[in-house]
């Protein structure tokens, strides 16, 4: 700056016109003469600054529980906007706030794009605070991962909860339904499960949502029709088998806000009647619960998605593409991930040699069977091979001639220990005939039987007796009847007397005992006779398990693998017959 000049800081002037975006602006400084200058000083220029208070723009959002909530016409019919005023759950107690240890906030799913809808979810209180409300009873505090599961389901129109068996999918689904019902976001729920699990759901609902009225659709046709149409019970439970019969009773007459499919792998085949019927139910939200949404191939997932979001996935997608597309819809946790405190699950592979009598019968049957299959030439079918496999597996259990069984010998020895220590064991097998044979030999352990030929009405009674009677040490179960949905965490021992075709089913069976509430380590004994068909099947399944793990690990999709036709033929080094009619394979 020159010594002869100075700059006035007063040099501002009023801006012309509106003052919209700025209150004022500085103008270039005015040169003021110094005292050494002989010319008279310039008079100061007075300027006025108007500080206007223009209106600040505000975006406002009303939510359904507000008395001023009005349904925007253009989004009428959308999920959460169509709800009545919520129940007033004024806390009744006094005192300070309950301060939970952790906070689980709702996150809007990726497919919720409207800001209003996203904010609705983001501004909800943490689940822990919601559940600390005195009017929402919970029998015990859920685990943090269960809170996450509830917050995952809550905002979703389409979702798969694919937690490993035993992590409490049922409870998480019930709590999410309960909160949605209490918030008035849903009013009519249909829960579909396998028939043997209906009572389990009823029990869990009475535990986790005791105040929600429930209707179980069963009985004569008139009664069922009434249940389908009546509107007083917010939750209805139907079984898959019944949907077939009642299709005419509910289709085009009933609409649900939410349909939940338990053991949703039941609809993995999109061409099945079950899948077709389930997809025809009018609904706003669709949830699927399954510990094994992929049982045999990625196509299984496509089948389930036909219920959740039709045409969203398709078979031509690579597993990686499919996994990425499905990511926001699927929540999958394993016990290893989330239950650091769950007692360990220990596997023991009991590799046994057949007794001499069994071995003689086995060899004769295999030689004769393979010879016969070979002689069939092009007429051979998968059924023929299956028959031989089943025949050999049965011999591995019991020699049909002498009744000898190396597995039984081992089982009896182990059960002696189980009974002596006051513990209980579950024995799984594929066949009812094996269950009966075992029951005869294990009489001293007072075994109970649970399989497809036991009437549904008696099944709960059997489970209860096994649970409560200290003299009952053994429950003999078939994989089909006992592998899903039952809570048998009071058993510390599981025996797989023979092996199922699919490791996912075996996992489900094992997890009846190894689940939340397990009192101690669960020991799983997998019985396998060496140098037999059982060993060959096991080898293939283990290899496939690893392959699926590699393919789908990035999506955390549960891995599972059944056997293909080629693999089944390969058990006996047989070639697949050429397809008939000359069509390309």
């Amino acid at each position: 700056m020159s010594p002869s000049t100075a700059y006035s800081r007063l040099g501002v002037e009023r801006l012309p016109g509106r003052v919209d975006s700025h209150w004022f602006q500085p103008i270039p400084p005015v040169q003021v003469p110094t005292s050494t200058n002989s010319t008279p000083p310039l008079p100061p220029r007075a300027v006025s600054i108007r500080i206007s208070l223009a209106k600040l723009e505000v975006r406002s959002y009303q939510f359904p529980e507000s008395p001023h909530w009005t349904l925007p016409t253009e989004i009428a019919g959308k999920s959460h906007q169509e709800r009545a005023s919520v129940q007033n759950n004024n806390p009744s107690g006094g005192g300070g706030p309950v301060v939970p240890k952790s906070r689980t906030r709702l996150k809007p799913p990726a497919d919720v794009v409207k800001l209003q809808d996203r904010l609705y979810y983001m501004l909800q209180p943490p689940l822990e605070l919601l559940l600390s409300d005195a009017s929402i009873d919970v029998p015990f505090e859920p685990f943090p991962y269960q809170f996450e599961g509830i917050s995952f389901l809550y905002p979703r129109v389409a979702a798969i909860l694919a937690d490993e068996m035993g992590l409490g999918k049922t409870m998480q689904a019930i709590m999410a339904m309960r909160i949605l019902l209490r918030a008035g976001e849903i009013r009519r729920v249909l829960l579909v499960c396998p028939k043997p699990l209906v009572t389990n759901w009823r029990r869990e609902l009475s535990l986790w949502a005791p105040e929600i009225p429930l209707a179980i659709i069963e009985g004569e046709q008139n009664k069922r029709q009434w249940h389908w149409l009546e509107t007083t019970a917010p939750i209805k439970i139907a079984n898959y088998e019944l949907l077939m019969r009642d299709r005419e009773l509910f289709s085009n007459q009933v609409e649900f806000d939410l349909v939940v499919l338990d053991e949703a792998q039941r609809i993995k085949n999109r061409n099945s009647t079950t899948s077709e019927i389930v997809r025809s139910i009018a609904r706003r939200r669709s949830w699927a619960l399954s510990g094994t949404p992929v049982e045999n191939s990625p196509d299984d997932l496509v089948g389930i998605f036909e219920f959740l979001a039709p045409n969203y996935l398709h078979s031509a997608m690579s597993p990686r593409q499919m996994g990425q597309a499905a990511r926001d819809f699927i929540l999958r946790r394993t016990k290893d991930n989330v239950l650091k405190d769950l007692p360990p699950k220990m596997f023991r592979d009991a590799e046994l040699e057949l007794t001499p009598a069994q071995w003689a019968t086995y060899q004769a049957a295999e030689d004769e069977g393979v010879l016969r299959l070979s002689e069939m030439g092009e007429g051979i079918t998968i059924q023929h091979v299956f028959e031989l496999v089943l025949r050999l597996k049965q011999i591995c259990n019991f020699d049909p001639v002498t009744g000898a069984s190396s597995k039984l010998e081992r089982l009896e020895a182990d059960l002696e220990e189980v009974a002596a220590s006051g513990q209980k064991a579950i024995v799984f097998t594929q066949w009812v005939t094996t269950i009966r044979e075992l029951a005869r030999h294990l009489e001293r352990f007072r075994p109970l039987e649970y399989h497809g030929q036991v009437p549904s009405k008696k099944r709960d009674q059997i489970i209860e007796e096994f649970r409560s009677d200290p003299r009952r040490h053994v429950l003999l179960m078939s994989y089909g009847a006992g592998s899903v949905g039952l809570n048998l965490q009071f058993s510390r021992y599981v025996f797989l007397f023979d092996r199922w075709w699919n490791p996912a089913i075996e996992d489900q069976a094992v997890n009846r005992a190894h689940r939340i509430g397990a009192a101690g380590p669960v020991t799983v004994t997998r019985m396998l006779t060496t140098a037999t068909i059982e060993e060959r099947i096991n080898q293939i399944l283990e290899e496939k398990r690893e392959l699926f793990s590699t393919l789908l690990s990035h999506t955390d999709t549960p891995r599972s693998a059944g056997m293909t036709r080629q693999e089944i033929f390969g058990l006996f080094r047989l070639q697949l017959p050429k397809p008939r009619g000359g069509a390309a394979a």
């Binding site: 975006s21 600040l56 975006r59 904010l119 983001m122």
Partner: protein, 200 residues
Amino acid sequence: MANARSEPAPALGFLSVVEHAEHGLFGGYLILNANGRPLEFHCTAPVKANRAQEILYGPTLKPFLYGEQIGQTLVRKGQVEPLLICTDHEALLSVREFCSIPVVMVAGQSPFHPSLPILQFRLGSQSVAVLSTFGNDQELVQRRWQAHELKLELLEPFSRIREAIEEAQRGMRTSNGAPLSSIPAASGTVGSPPTSATVS
């Protein structure tokens, strides 16, 4: 307020301002029912004082921007009248001068270090304060708190406001295709309406 009533609905207001280094100040006002569920949410476009404003307003700039400009505007947008308004900023206590609802500041992890004269007291297990110039609010707030047997945790909703403001800003960026530019204080320009369900 649209519906001033003799007996306010059992709702609580939570008023906060989030400072963004680039865009300026975002105001958020969340009204919850007694169960902590959201009834209304209002947020402002970003407000940024320029250099001249900083000079002219001096130490009064912050209370002016927080309380008079942002706070007052937001509270007036509320349709449900809450029993009280909670804030986590001392500068927002001045909102009380523009509304009839008691305004309390909620103490965070650390105790109050007020620059204004305040009256401290407890609501349930939580430490709060009102401006001394509105000393009668203490009795009013405590009476309402007890009458409605409130149990709400008073600090937790501010984290919701912060996340919602961030989401709203992100939503605007997405819908406009460009970052939301900061708007000078008292400006009236914003981008396109955020959703079809927006209620003004």
